[in-house]
């Protein structure tokens, strides 16, 4: 066993223990520890990815070398390693981008607590990615929820507390359903390790026994995770949570937390139940319908929104809709598209959040879109970054959104007629809607500001290097977007390989 194979386990443990470590450090030091940990884990994930790509097959890592069903297992394939790497990169950039806001908005004594939460969050995300044990997954889902709540609430004002409470309630409802589903499965199969469950489910399914309980279990788990990842119509908590929390939290929550759940759902589909069974169960059809509804309704809400942060947040609802629509198509290419969109959305949404804050900085900290008039001239990089993000969301070629749109559409065309038409139509309509609110904002950014309203304090130019961390974050995210948009071929290959390794 190569040393590198220990890295997934090490990275989970490292992030887990850096949490308590941060709690005894001061704010500054905790920040550096956090950055170092994320960077280190990112590097390790890259190494693991290289290793798995080299061997070309997944491996299972038994903790303490106990065999199943007693021991706990980690399973590493191409997709897992790639996802871990990607999450680390995005998280690092989100932390960089929100540095200034954290310093300003968080109470002095609580800075280090923030890093505790982030470290725990990273730990839970990694665990969700790597684990081969359904119950372990559940445990980390809960850790994830709690740390996410902390991230929302740590900037204390009325709206965040309300948002956090809402988030908590919805999340707990979701995890409850998930837990119920897991119980059902355990009851049916007697296993908690994913590989074993799948084996048993396959047998049960072949025998035609326990069809209904199986369906119920699958439904409970899907719906539970859907609630947690804010699929329409369970998105009520989202705009407030993303709109009023501190910048890093919003970026991380929107781009990573919900994606962790989605990744878990993919694993449940492929590793726990088996995609064939899922496809025939009809659960996907429900996800499909809600996905489509989300694509439209999210955008409609975003169009009506006057607050830029909340607008971007509502756009997340639409994007999550895309992802579930991809699952709902019920084909492998649909899932590939969805997973790619996870990457696209993470890279783009964090870019949008960070650049939006850059714009509001130069507009007297007002988040009203009307106040952002001319902000593209005041803060040029943020304007550019917001434009890039918008174009990507609208699906303009050369940006990552285009590739996801392409993949979705191709997957839709391959599928059955019944799903193809609604999928394509909604895709087109939602593109138009995206254009409607994103491009309108972009045009507003580049409309010169005239009049009293824009002469107040805070409406000032922000130079390129006034906030270097944010500048770097935006630049890197733009590049990331372009990489995803222009050299998508190897990444898509990687996703295909990874999904194949799930089987």
């Amino acid at each position: 066993m190569a040393f590198v194979q220990n890295f997934p386990f090490i990275s989970i443990v490292l992030s887990l223990f850096s949490g308590p470590l941060s709690s005894v450090l001061g704010g500054k030091k905790a920040k550096w520890v956090n950055l170092a940990v994320i960077t280190l884990i990112g590097a390790m994930s890259a190494a693991v990815l290289a290793f798995v790509l080299g061997t070309g097959e997944p491996y299972v890592y038994r903790m303490g070398h106990f065999p199943a069903p007693w021991g706990n297992e980690i399973r590493v394939g191409v997709l897992e390693a790639g996802m871990a790497l990607f999450f680390c990169v995005v998280m690092l950039l989100c932390m960089l981008g929100g540095e200034r806001e954290r310093a300003l908005e968080l109470p002095e004594g609580k800075q280090n607590l923030y890093y505790v939460m982030v470290n725990l969050l990273l730990c839970s995300l990694l665990a969700l990615i790597y684990t081969n044990d359904l119950f372990t997954a559940y445990v980390f889902v809960e850790i994830n929820t709690i740390s996410a709540c902390g991230l929302i609430m740590i900037r204390q004002n009325g709206r965040t507390i309300e948002a956090a409470t809402r988030y908590m309630i919805m999340s707990l409802l979701g995890s409850g359903l998930l837990l119920l589903g897991i119980c059902f499965l355990y009851d049916l199969t007697g296993h908690l390790l994913m590989s074993n469950i799948k084996e048993q489910v396959g047998l049960l399914y072949a025998a035609g026994a326990y069809r209904v309980p199986l369906l119920v279990a699958l439904g409970l788990m899907s719906v539970g995770l859907a609630i947690k990842s804010a699929l329409f119509p369970f998105h009520a908590w989202l705009p407030d949570a993303y709109g009023y929390s501190t910048l890093s939290s919003a970026a991380i929550l929107s781009s990573l937390v919900s994606k962790g759940y989605i990744f878990l759902l993919v694993k449940i589909f492929f590793r726990v139940v088996g995609f064939e069974v899922v496809r025939e169960s009809g659960v996907l059809n429900i996800l499909f319908v809600f996905g489509l509804a989300g694509m439209i309704m999210g955008s409609v809400s975003a169009i009506q929104e006057k607050n830029v942060r909340r607008m971007v947040a509502y756009s997340s609802v639409a994007q999550i809709g895309y992802i579930y629509m991809g699952f709902g198509l019920g084909s492998l290419s649909g899932v590939v598209a969805s997973v790619f969109h996870v990457l696209t959305h993470a890279a783009t949404k964090s870019l949008l959040f960070i650049s939006a804050s850059g714009l509001t900085d130069s507009s007297g900290d007002s988040k009203q879109i009307a106040d952002l008039t001319g902000a593209g001239f005041r803060n040029r990089l943020a304007g550019l970054a917001f434009t890039v993000g918008s174009l990507s969301m609208v699906g303009i070629p050369a940006f990552s959104g285009f590739v996801s749109k392409l993949l979705f559409a191709q997957a839709a065309v391959e599928g059955s007629f019944v799903k193809m038409l609604p999928a394509l139509l909604v895709l087109a309509v939602s593109t138009v809607l995206n254009a409607l609110y994103f491009m309108k904002t972009v045009i507003t950014l580049y409309t010169p500001a005239r009049g009293e309203r824009f002469s107040g304090r805070g409406f000032c130019r922000i130079g390129l290097w006034e906030q270097p961390a944010k500048t770097w974050a935006m630049l890197c995210l733009i590049v990331l977007n372009l990489i995803l948009g222009l050299t998508s071929e190897p990444i898509i290959e990687l996703i295909r390989d990874g999904l194949a390794m799930f089987e």
């Binding site: 070629p397 895709l427 593109t431 491009m439 071929e489």
Partner: protein
Amino acid sequence: MKPGIMLIVVLLPILGGGLLPLLPFRSRRQLTVYTECVVLLNSLLTVAMLLYRPGEAFVLFRYTGNLSLSFRLDGLGSVFTAILALLWPLATLYAFEYMEGERHERIFFMFYTITFGVTLGIALAEDIVTMYCFYEMLTLVTLPLIMHTLTREAVLASRTYLYYALGGAAFAFMGMIFILTYGTTPNFVPGGVLDPARVGEKGDLLLLAYVMCFLGFSVKAAMWPFSAWLPKAGVAPTPVTALLHAVAVVKAGAFTLMRVTYYSFGTGFLRGTWAQTLLFVPVIFTIVYGCSRALKETHIKRRMAWSTVSNLSYILFGVVLMTPLGLVGALSHMIFHAVMKICSFFCAGAVIHQTGREYIYQLDGFGRKMPKVFLCFTVSALALMGVPGLCGFVSKWNLAKAAFEQGSPLALGGAAALLVSALLTAIYMLTIVIRAFFPGRDFDYGTLKGIRDPGWRMLLPLTLFVVAMFIFGLFSGPVVEALEAIAAPMP
């Protein structure tokens, strides 16, 4: 010639334009010389490319699987390329005089030059993906040009433009996906690429996709009901309205429609289907609708814009005829309309530039004050009406011939619509001419004191266009033969 030349002609204006705001120009003169040099050089390269044709494709890079960004020069592309290469330097020259004294000139010329490259990208695209990419880029790089004056009106117009264009592209995208899925190749092949084995029973579905694709791309070609953006976009400076909204952008829309109809879905598959019948309706309606709106409009540039709407649908009419002759008609109108409309727009622009008057009722008696401009305007009016001997007649003839050869009642209706539109064109163009030359006996020329013809940079393009209209009108043979050669491989 090496295929790499295609990349050069696309990239040179994009880079040259992109550099523009960064270069340290000491005077406006240097700026103009630099811009004209870039544009002229690129035009020369393009013409050289057209003469020594690179036979092979140039692959820039691959997206996924068989999707790539690649260029190839074929017959249809050559026509569009040639139009662009010949008109752009002239329009730039005109723009120098027109933009004198406007703000943000650098930004303007930056995007103006970039647009050249992007439009060439559409013309040279080898496959539907490349074309789509450049099509979207075109929307974006022309946006700042519409917004240029940054007035409230301009911002609203640009917003409308953006919604229409992006929305259209979203639907066109669907058609592209079907080509990628059901075609043997994403490349453009005369006669279409649909794989009959894959199409099988799903003919109707593909027709639906084609209709969506057509409607989507037709937004740029300003077909009813997607035409409202074009007249609104008239708030842009005249060089933009003239070149982009009479030639580059809108013709790009028409060009893409030719591509998807004749080179992707294939006329063999589409001809005689309900899709063709369905698409005839808006096209024919637009031919008349555009003219009647032009008639009602009193703002001179908006009138020209509505006239463009109508004339673009002439081209689309040729496209939906779905016969080789239809393509010939469409292409000839694409070429000739470019010359005619840019000329009439430039005349309108000259008036606005010289006097600031923008409404037709303010043009009384201008014929004597700006005789050269209004002489050119008269010629372009006559050409647009389709007076024999000028180029408009040739393309109308070709279109009507194609319609009669196709022979279906709707095609004949279209031919009739062409004539109705010609009459309306005569009315809305000649009223301006008559007003300018014959303001009435008691007209007081004192109110027009100090108005005179513009400088040579505006007059030179106008003169060349007028000469071109006559030459094309009288000796159209070689042009039409070349177009027939392009359409020959169509089934």
